[in-house]
Amino acid sequence: MIKLENIKKSFGELEVLKDVSLNVEKGTVTAIIGPSGSGKTTFLRCINILEQPTDGKITIDEQTIDFSNKVSKKEIISLRSKTGMVFQQHHLFPHLTALENVMEGLVTVQKVKKDVAKKKAIDLLTKVGLEEKINLLPHQLSGGQQQRVGIARALALEPTVILFDEPTSALDPELVQEVLKVMKELAEEGMTMIVVTHEMKFARDVADEVIFMDGGYIVEQGHPKDVLEHPKHARTKQFLQLIQ
């Protein structure tokens, strides 16, 4: 179970997350939607503790960090190891091949033997449909392929939950589907996922819960059908109109 309680985050004067709480059950997919600047990325980054929340509690797999207290580096590293992250821009390591990108965390962080790591990395790259591209450098791959390597890299460390930040929004339209397909398969295998996305079809078909964020709050949340087709709040309605 992933439990986020009263997360707050400010950058200087700017309060970006005002008070966000969310429970995510194991094996479910949560989709987060909302206008630009509403704090979606910041929220994901707080779960991954790339940004340290100003206040609030995060619980993943029994470990809880309370950010109203001083937090040690060790706690952060331990909690972070339970999450994987896929970015909007793939952020692959440009000097490493697809294979090396996926192996990096296994070898450097988890100190897995090279040949074991390699086997695992090949399996994961095969899973995302890239068995023939393992020795290419990121710039030799298309945007969709790059993003799939990014997913394999996040999967390699076997996190409890994977966070996706608009994984398809930087892609050419005809490359979007290949990434969404991989994500759908992951969801079907029971991976716990939190996905910031603008792909409404994906949210409707795959997500177990949809969250609408605006102005640093969760404005509305519930079953995809309810939120996307019968939104209760005026802001949700307005937003959905704009993007469809």
Binding site: N48, L50, I77, R80, S81, T83, G84, M85, F87, Q89, H91, L92, F93, P94, H95, L96, E104, G105, T108, V109, Q110, L137, P138, H139, R153, A154, A156, L157
Partner: protein, 228 residues
């Protein structure tokens, strides 16, 4: 005098006779000094850059002060102080070591700014991606950032290296034999300082020319993983 007299038989003979001695001190003096100094300087530059990038105010302050002093004062003065000044507080260092210290401090300061810039030029996303798979600061630096920063900093660092070749001509001031000293000695005997200095200039140019070819090769190599 006219153009002909520049290429007179006499001048050509002088140039021919002084060629070997100069090349010799270039090979045993200038070039090794440049290489050793550059390596030591880069290490120093790297540490300084990390100090500058560290959140630690004290380390940052030290690094800033060092860079400011070295960049703000002439190298000549720095060498003077190291070689002729330190003995007055009972620190006496041999010429060669003094030269290495002096030039390395100089390279360290100039190159640290280059290295710092190159590290900062790497997209923040790389740090975050590394962080998100659990890599520590040091691991990220070593395995992710530096290999990429190296590419960015190679051209300006090569320029520092090429400048260093010429700066080592100051080493004779602190009793180290290098090429320009040989030129001065020869000119003091035959009084043809113009011919001999020009020849020295040409030799420097040839050295720099070869270095820049190597630079080009290196850059092409390190660029391999970069999209066109």
């Amino acid at each position: 005098m006219d153009l002909n007299s520049i290429f007179s038989q006499e001048n050509l003979t002088i140039a021919k006779d002084s060629f070997l001695p100069m090349v010799k001190t270039a090979l045993i003096g200038t070039i090794p000094l440049t290489i050793i100094t550059f390596i030591v300087g880069i290490v120093l530059a790297f540490i300084t850059a990390l100090f500058r990038l560290s959140g630690n105010k004290f380390l940052n302050g030290i690094a800033r002060f060092y860079v400011s002093i070295i960049r703000g004062t002439p190298l000549l003065v720095q060498l003077f102080i190291i070689f002729y000044g330190l003995p007055s507080i009972n620190v006496t260092i041999s010429p060669y070591i003094s030269a290495i210290i002096g030039f390395s401090l100089s390279v360290g300061a100039y190159a640290s700014e280059i290295i710092r810039g190159s590290i900062q030029s790497i997209d923040k996303g790389q740090w975050e991606a590394a962080s998100s798979i659990g890599m520590t600061y040091n691991q990220t630096l070593k395995r992710i950032i530096i290999p990429q920063a190296a590419r960015v900093s190679l051209p300006p660092l090569s320029n520092t290296f090429i400048s260093l070749v010429k700066d080592t001509s100051l080493a004779s001031l602190i009793l180290v034999t290098e090429m320009f000293r040989t030129a001065q000695e020869i000119a003091a005997t035959n009084y043809k300082f113009l011919v001999v200095y020009t020849e020295a200039g040409i030799i420097y140019w040839i050295i720099c020319f070869f270095l820049s070819i190597i630079q080009g090769r290196l850059e092409a190599r390190v660029a391999r993983y970069v999209a066109k």
